[in-house]
């Protein structure tokens, strides 16, 4: 909090000072409550799992070992998984936005007569669906099964939740007068959308882009159901397999084997390591998106 200079604080009203102090303490509280378990995951991923599950790892790693990470990265499938997921996530998000943003814009136009009907038409699909089996049969008949396309084109290509969020944003943040002024200048919907609406909507584009991207990133169900060729599997499936292969006999020596003491011992380490390996790339991304949430950044961009 170094950058809050003394002068500034002095210049403030007493009420605001109290308010600021409250904010600072509350933020610190939230920070520690949220950060500790994450810190725990990090130290647990490099500690001896026996110490972890007997509660001896609290603030510092104990019994340092990188076995978990070795296990994860020794598996060549991880790199294939990264590559696949990267492609599915980036290309998929691009398609998602391409379909969602214009549709949201259209649905935000008050003069568009079919908007209420279409809105209902979209929302209906949030609730009613045919279930897994008909969807699987559809994908099979469209020859999407066991191809990368099934990650791009599926029932979530247009995510109605994101559509609604975007529409709400357009409705509330693109002044109606702006469009009227634009049409005066001979601007079509296409042009208005791409030159005015989009630049004004960086924040919401960043948000739903992130929503879609993380959705792709965490998606493992599509791979599970529709993909048979292991070379097409996304990262999450690969990591899940690695996780399971270490979590031997978690239900007991169910199938009559002897428990694998060796692998079992390190299961938890791999478990925590997997979290780090799978989420690091999305974490790195976040600061780049964050800047769109700064106060006033949008208005500034339009003026500039």
């Amino acid at each position: 909090m170094a950058s809050i200079s003394i002068d500034k604080i002095k210049a403030k009203k007493p009420k605001d000072l109290l308010f600021d102090t409250f904010i600072i303490f509350f933020c610190l509280f939230i920070f520690f409550v949220v950060a500790y378990p994450i810190f725990f995951i990090v130290i647990a991923s490099i500690s001896d799992p026996t110490f972890v599950s007997t509660g001896q790892v609290l603030f510092l790693p104990k019994g340092f070992s990188l076995f978990g990470y070795e296990q994860i990265f020794a598996d060549t499938r991880v790199w294939i998984g990264y590559r696949n997921t990267l492609f599915y996530a980036l290309f998929g998000t691009f398609i998602n936005l391409l379909f969602t943003l214009p549709a949201a814009y259209v649905l935000s136009r008050q003069e568009f007569r079919a908007r209420r009907f279409l809105m209902f038409f979209f929302i209906f699909t949030m609730f009613f669906n045919g279930g897994l089996i008909p969807t699987y049969m559809l994908m099979r008949d469209l020859s999407l099964v066991d191809t990368p396309w099934v990650f791009i084109f599926n029932p979530l290509t247009v995510n109605v939740f994101n559509l609604i969020i975007t529409r709400t944003f357009f409705e509330n943040n693109i002044p109606h007068e702006m469009f009227e002024a634009a049409t005066m200048d001979g601007c079509s919907h296409f042009k208005f959308f791409s030159t005015i609406v989009l630049p004004l909507s960086k924040a919401v584009t960043a948000v739903i882009g992130l929503y879609y991207l993380v959705g792709h990133w965490n998606n493992f169900f599509t791979g599970l159901i529709y993909i048979r060729d292991y070379n097409l599997q996304p990262l999450q499936i690969v990591l899940r397999d690695i996780l399971l292969s270490n979590q031997v006999f978690a239900e007991g020596a169910g199938s009559g084997g002897t428990g694998g003491g060796y692998a079992q011992r390190y299961a938890d380490q791999v478990k925590y390591g997997v979290i780090i390996v799978s989420s690091l790339p999305v974490l790195v991304l976040y600061p780049f998106i964050q800047k769109y949430f700064e106060k006033g950044v949008l208005i500034g961009s339009v003026k500039g």
Binding site: P49, T50, S53, T54, L132, I133, P134, Y136, M137, L138, R140, D141, V145, L224, I225, R228, Y230, R240, D241, L244, S245, N246, Q247, V248, F249, A250, E251, G252, A253, G254, S255, G256, G257, T258, G259, G260, G261, Y262, A263, Q264, R265, A267, D268
Partner: protein, 528 residues
């Protein structure tokens, strides 16, 4: 528009494909193996390549080790399955009933191309019973694993602690109570802290019923023979199907458990910990053991190399010094050595004869041994015409169990380990055998015919199966929750009658009746 699209979808159908061949004339098949997550890629298994070679096939494998239930539904309902499916119960009898026509009846193929399977049916007639569906067809093949012990759950007690405190191995529940009390009150492990001993611990109890390594084994003391650790409570007594959840003897057992819990003798996390915590706690800290009395598969697996020597298995206890019940224990031999539906062929398979030739290869005793333990060479040494020695792991740090599961399909594969061949087992199996000793007596006295519930041999119709599942789900919800509640907080004596009434109202008696009918049919069938 929607309707027309629906019609298109509904009308399209997949047609059987023409058999494809490799350049050197081998038939190309597709296969799916439900393997253990630990198991290496099948492409790296020498024995498998050899078996495919001999059968003149090349199989493109899809390897599944997780979430099969979810994947299976869509695959079967879509009618979109590979030529061969391998795995323990990958396809269930319920699937054969529901997805009629998806799987091929193997009987004619076995007759023509399955000499090894025929040999298994001859040597181990039970495998034929297990493979035969009620309509007489064979859709899924069973296995015979031969070497696995009579029970998966053994009880262990810390002998060092007993010696430290000058105590004897308990022979009945009262003595067990006294021993556990001493473990708790005194510094049994001698590390100076009298409070770090956990007298008793057991594996987490699933919401779907009891399983291995759980305290239900103590029901044996009351004369009941449970199977597979207890499951949903069905057991057999004098040829009659019963359920222990509504048995007075179960009530006594729960009262005893409550007495242990109320005195702080059971790990207070026993009901909430997961399996890895359960394992970790038992490994102690360095040379200091933490657990006095517990259940597991084998000593080193349960306690780790450091402290395994402190423990020993001991014979099943009596309920009290003066009880005259014939003591029993959970009997798991069938579950561990036989299995149903390990291999099936799609009715859409491009070349069913080739598929059968390959499956027949798996049932060749020498191949089967490799299915179980790994390839001859790295995993098995052939010491004579019909004799083999299972080799220790290449990596010295690895235990033989993990080595086996890593190297091959292991217990998940179809196999016929013929009684004719000589096998020198790996150390872990020898240890299991040795540690099983105290339990032998009980199993020798066991009336196999009338007191062991042959759960896996009974094949229900789809309707009965569905009916029973519904009842069992509701029933388990109450029974398991009540078990936990009664053990931890007591109250069984007041609530018992209304509990029994509630469970009966849910439909438990009708389930028992259904099972009894199937059991009687089964007995009649095998006696013919």
């Amino acid at each position: 528009m929607i309707i027309s699209l629906v019609t298109i979808v509904a009308c399209s159908n997949n047609s059987a494909t023409e058999p494809q061949e490799t350049e050197d004339g081998k038939t190309i098949l597709t296969g799916l193996i439900l393997k253990h997550a630990l198991t290496k890629e099948v492409a790296e298994m020498e024995w498998l390549a050899e078996a495919e070679e001999r059968a003149g096939v090349e199989i493109q494998w899809e390897e599944v080790s997780a979430d099969w239930d979810q994947k299976k539904g869509a695959m079967l309902a879509g009618g979109d399955i590979p030529d061969i499916i391998i795995g323990p119960g990958a396809i269930s009898d319920a699937d054969f009933a529901q997805f009629t026509g998806v799987f091929e009846d193997l009987s004619p193929l076995i007759e023509e191309h399955g000499p090894n399977i025929q040999a298994m049916f001859e040597e181990q007639p039970l495998t034929e019973v297990l493979s035969t569906y009620p309509d007489g067809a064979i859709y899924g093949l069973s296995k015979y694993q031969r070497f696995w012990p009579e029970t998966a759950t053994m009880q262990f007690i810390n002998q060092d602690w007993l010696d430290n405190l000058g105590l004897e191995v308990p022979t009945n529940w009262d003595e067990l109570f006294d021993v556990l009390m001493a473990f708790k009150e005194e510094d049994a492990n001698g590390n100076g802290d009298p409070n770090d001993e956990i007298p008793m611990d057991f594996a987490p109890i699933g919401e779907g019923g009891f399983g291995f390594f759980q305290p239900t084994v103590l029901l044996g003391s009351t004369g009941m023979t449970i199977v597979g650790g207890g499951g949903q409570g069905y057991f057999l007594e004098d040829g009659e199907v019963k359920n222990f959840f509504i048995d007075e003897r179960y009530k006594e057992f729960v009262i005893f458990m409550n007495k242990l819990y109320a005195n702080g003798l059971i790990n207070d996390e026993a009901f909430t910990q997961d399996y890895s915590q359960y394992q970790a706690v038992a490994r102690g800290e360095g040379d200091v053991a933490k657990i006095g009395y517990t259940f597991g598969w084998e000593k080193t697996d349960r306690f780790g190399l450091n402290i395994a020597d402190q423990y020993q298995t001991f014979a099943p206890m009596q309920q009290s010094a003066d009880s005259d019940d014939e003591v029993s224990w959970t009997y798991d031999y069938n579950q561990l050595n036989y299995g149903v539906n390990f291999a099936q062929i799609s009715s859409q398979a491009s070349d069913k004869e080739a598929a059968m030739r390959f499956i027949n290869e798996l049932y060749d005793p020498e191949v089967s041994l490799q299915v179980l333990f790994g390839s001859i060479g790295p995993n098995i040494e052939k010491t004579g015409d019909q004799s083999y020695k299972i080799l220790p792991p290449e990596d010295e740090e690895m235990d033989p169990g993990t080595w086996k599961w890593t190297s091959s399909w292991a217990d998940n594969g179809p196999m016929f380990i013929s009684d004719e061949i000589d096998v020198e087992l790996p150390v872990d199996m020898q240890d299991v055998e040795a540690q099983q000793e105290p339990f032998k007596q009980v199993f020798e006295n066991l009336d196999q015919e009338n007191d062991v519930f042959p759960g896996m041999m009974l094949k229900y119709s789809q309707e009965d199966q569905n009916q029973m599942t519904l009842v069992n789900t509701d029933f388990m919800n109450i029974a398991i929750a009540k078990f936990g509640e009664w053990v931890t907080s007591g109250g069984i004596e007041e609530e018992w009658d209304s509990y029994v009434q509630q469970v009966e109202q849910i439909g438990l008696p009708s389930n028992i009746e259904i099972i009894q009918t199937y059991y009687d049919d089964y007995i009649q069938q095998i006696s013919e």
